[in-house]
Symmetry: C2
Subunit: 232 residues, 2 copies
Amino acid sequence: MRRATGLRKPRANRVSRRKRASEAARAGGKSLSTTRKTRSAERRDAILAAALDEFSTRGFEAARLDDVARRAGVAKGTIYLYFRDKESLFQELIRTMLTPLVGTIEAMGQTDLPLAVLGDRIVELFVSQIYETRRKDVVRLMISEGRRFPKLAEFYYREVLSRIVAAVRALLRRAAARGEIAESLAEFPQIIAAPGLLAVIWNGLFERFEPLDVRRMMKAHLDTLLTPRRAP
Amino acid sequence: MRRATGLRKPRANRVSRRKRASEAARAGGKSLSTTRKTRSAERRDAILAAALDEFSTRGFEAARLDDVARRAGVAKGTIYLYFRDKESLFQELIRTMLTPLVGTIEAMGQTDLPLAVLGDRIVELFVSQIYETRRKDVVRLMISEGRRFPKLAEFYYREVLSRIVAAVRALLRRAAARGEIAESLAEFPQIIAAPGLLAVIWNGLFERFEPLDVRRMMKAHLDTLLTPRRAP
DNA sequence: AATTTATGACTGACCAGTCAGTCATAAAGG
DNA sequence: CCTTTATGACTGACTGGTCAGTCATAAATT
C-alpha cells in the first residue's frame, strides 16, 4: 500500500549503495574506467542498450524506466542526467543507431558495377548490417512507433531514408540506362528494399511458424528483376 | 488533485443520463432500431469502430477506453458488456476486420489466368480492399502491436496469412510452369506482397514528405517480375 | 414487477519524473 | 606526499497524475 503521510522520512540504513551499481558496471564487461568522461560515455551507452531491449520487447508506452534503469545497472534518476525524458531517450536511441548507416549505403550508390554484382553486395550489406544486428530491432521500433513521433519520422526521412532512396535511385537509373533492368523500376527504389522490410516484420511475428531465409529471398528477388539479356 | 478519502460518495443528481447516449447513437447515422439483437450488434460495431480509431492513432497501450467509449457514444462500463477487457477488444477488432478477406483471396488463387492478367486483379484487390480501406489501419496495428500478442499473431498466421501464402504460392507455381516467371519466385510468395506492405508503412510514416503511388508501384513490380517472352 | 441493459463515479495499481541527500573522486592547501 | 575541502555524479523514496476495470444504481424493456 502507498504511504499516506506527507512527511519526508529521514534517510536511514543505506546499506552498501554503490556496491550494486559498480558490480553491474563490471558485469557489463567493461573494466570500470576511472576517467569521468569515459565512465560517463559508458553509462550513456549502457542506458541506451537497456532502453533498446525494453522498448523492443514492451513497446514505447509499456516500457518502464525502472526496468531500463535496473537493466543498465543504474538508478532511475541517473537516466535523467543523460536524457531529458522518456521520449527523448527513445529518439536518441533511434538516431544513434541508424545515422551511421547512411554513409555506408551512400558509398555503395556511387560504385558503377553491373547490378548483378551490386545485388549481392546490397543483400549482404542489409543482412549483415541490419538483419543480423540489433539495428533490426531499431527498424522495427521505427515502424511500430514512428507514427506517434512525427518529429522523429521527419528526422528519419530527411537524414536517412531520402538519402538512401536517392542513392538507390541513381544506381537503378544507371542500371536501366545499361538495359539491365526495366526503366519503370528506377522510379520506385522502394521496391528493392521491400522484401528486406517484409523480412524484418515477418521475423518478428511469424518466424516461429514459418522461417524465412532473407538472403535467399532477396537474392531471388533481385535476380528476377534483372532483364534477361536475350533468352539463350 | 487526487481524492484522498477512501469513502464512497453517495450517488446524487444524475441529470438526464440517457440523453447524450441516444443522441450520439442517432448522430451515428443509424436509425435507432428497436430490435434487441440489432441494437446490440450496432453497439458492438460502434465500439469496434471507435476502438479502431483510438488504437490506430495512439497505439494499444496509450489508447484510453474512456475515449473509445466517448467516441462510440457509450459509457465505459458498456464496453465491458461486449468485451472481456481491453486486450480482448483489440484482438476481436483484428479478427473481425481481417477474417472476411481470406475467402476473397483464396478464390483468386483458384483462377487459372495468365499472370499478366491476374497481376492487375491482385493489385486492384489489394488497393480497394485494404489500402483504401480501414483495413489498412488494421494491418498497421497487426504490424505494430502483433509482437506483444503472440496468440493474436498465431491466429493471424493460421487463419489468414498461411492461407494467403498457400494460395499465392499455388498461383505462382502454375505461372512458373507456364514459363511466365522464374521458378525461384514461386518459393517466396511474400515477394508479391512486399511492396504493398511497404506502401502501408510508408503511407503512415512518410506520405507527407514524399507521396507514393501504390498502384503504379505494385504494377511496375509485377510487370518487371514477368519473364519477357523472348525480346521482340 | 421482474429482468435485462446501461451508466459513470470510484478504486487500486501503476509509473514518469523530482529532489534531498550521499559519497567517490578531484582540486586545493599544507 | 598527505590531509582537507569542494564538486557533481548518482541514488531511490516520494509525488502527482493516469487509467483499466468494478459495481451500485438507474433506465429500458418485457
